[in-house]
Symmetry: C2
Subunit: 336 residues, 2 copies
Amino acid sequence: MRIGIDAMGGDHAPVETVKGAVMALDAVAGTIVLFGFEDQIKAELKKYTYDQSRIEIVPTTEVVENEDKPVIAIKRKKDASMVVGLEQVRKGEIDAFISAGNTGALLAGGLLRVGRIRGVDRPALTTVFPTFKGMFILADVGANAECKARNLLEFGIMGSIYAKDVLSIDNPKVGLVNIGTEEGKGTPMISEAYQLLKESDLNFIGNVEARDIPEKQADVLVCDGFTGNVILKLTEGVAKSFMSEIKGIFMSNIISKLSAVIMKKNLKALKTKMDYTEYGGAPLLGVKAPIVKAHGSSNGKAFMNAIKYADKYVSNNIIEKISAQVLIDDEDEEQE
Amino acid sequence: MRIGIDAMGGDHAPVETVKGAVMALDAVAGTIVLFGFEDQIKAELKKYTYDQSRIEIVPTTEVVENEDKPVIAIKRKKDASMVVGLEQVRKGEIDAFISAGNTGALLAGGLLRVGRIRGVDRPALTTVFPTFKGMFILADVGANAECKARNLLEFGIMGSIYAKDVLSIDNPKVGLVNIGTEEGKGTPMISEAYQLLKESDLNFIGNVEARDIPEKQADVLVCDGFTGNVILKLTEGVAKSFMSEIKGIFMSNIISKLSAVIMKKNLKALKTKMDYTEYGGAPLLGVKAPIVKAHGSSNGKAFMNAIKYADKYVSNNIIEKISAQVLIDDEDEEQE
């Protein structure tokens, strides 16, 4: 197994990308391949003692910046760490590719350079979403701002396979984000998606209202990418504002400061439960090779976890399973 | 001024509706008109000492239930408290009507029985959204699951008028919910709405990402009703799950329980800041008479606040101002 990382991607690259790669050596077998500026990567690697035979560098001379226009960057920056990594995962020179860089560019690169699995209309950016009640998969979170009903069914199929085989959730429950619990709620597209999901072989539990998302009713929650992006970022924003208020309360006087010290462990646990770094980033499901988007602000631990999950993604043959499933489904839908 | 309340609407009706009506007598001038089962309302009113000349009862014999199909309920339950109330506000027998009952029915009733202001394509269900940084107006939160760009501009116009004249916000900042901050992000509809807002006379500040919603960057935030409903309910859900976790932490041992007692005031302040009951419900903007949806779980205080804001809604001539503004705007758009 060879897992590639865009060493130049993310807010703390290459410090944290390299750190994560070294940390991951204990968690996975095989080789980690770092794409990026050779000098910088080597300088970072010097900080650690590790099995040098298991980390390789593929030197590249360009970087896709967050400000770059996705499609243009992918087409023009041919020697960017992200672009070379995508090229290698396409050719099978590496088995999976992880980047915390420009999300749009990674999506565009996944579509343009790696390509869709036959039968998949729209690949989904899928994230593992933490709640106090446990995690679930949310798809799509931004690859497809506008969706057809058919896409939401595909997200459910792909998300279920990932939930089952990578996250070890048996018979994953699939929910549809909607503005009411009853059948027929929402836009015409959502109503149609409801019917498709209901008629599918998925373990469909019906509509899930946004209010109940933190209650984790489903293991896989599907929605269009606009809604998913709003859900992901709003949860992050509300959680952040709460943590900041709580911190303020604890810092308000001597006694509350003392309480904070006493409750430190519990407060930390609260934070950990909502910690996205635990679940290893957002797989782009529906492309022909395992590509994972890590959060821009990922630290070493987040990259290590992304590598761990990418390893499971590969070794459980998720791509082949998705491919087999969507083809069956495609034959069912031949009238389309 | 005569403000009507659906005494039978909401989870705690008529106990809390009547309580709110009595409480409101100190906050507003004029008469409160209660629509509902006469016996039950009278029994509740008996609990209080108040100026009897200022509360009237309009006896009705039916109730729109939460399970009722909105349009059917509005058409068939002609003597329901909600339907009679809507009829009276249409005729001008009352100046405003508040209900915490079936949201869909109130919307349908607003459209079918009261009707749109000339020039308004789609009325919006608008809520005052609390954050730790202050409140803002969110429109639409569920009246229009699917929207055209033009509708979002209207929500901005109507929301700005309400923000300025009812909530006393000078030159309200208008933001567009989007999945990126840059112009051109989102669906084609959202991009088009961006252009319309940018070219309008509104104080448009551009896109607001969901992550920044709790930071209250805008005074009026516009989006389609599907997205708005998700934002409203998800915030509620995340806040609830946080409060419950925090409570759990404080209850975990003797010392933390003691801390909770000491910090009670601050913790209560935390809750108050996020308290939707402070801002008096969700006005349906764009219909010909002031109609306000109160939260289903409203208590007396929430109803009192709803009455207070309905009073401002009427006395500041919001309907006339919306009407004047959309007509100007309509003339500008005559090519349509």
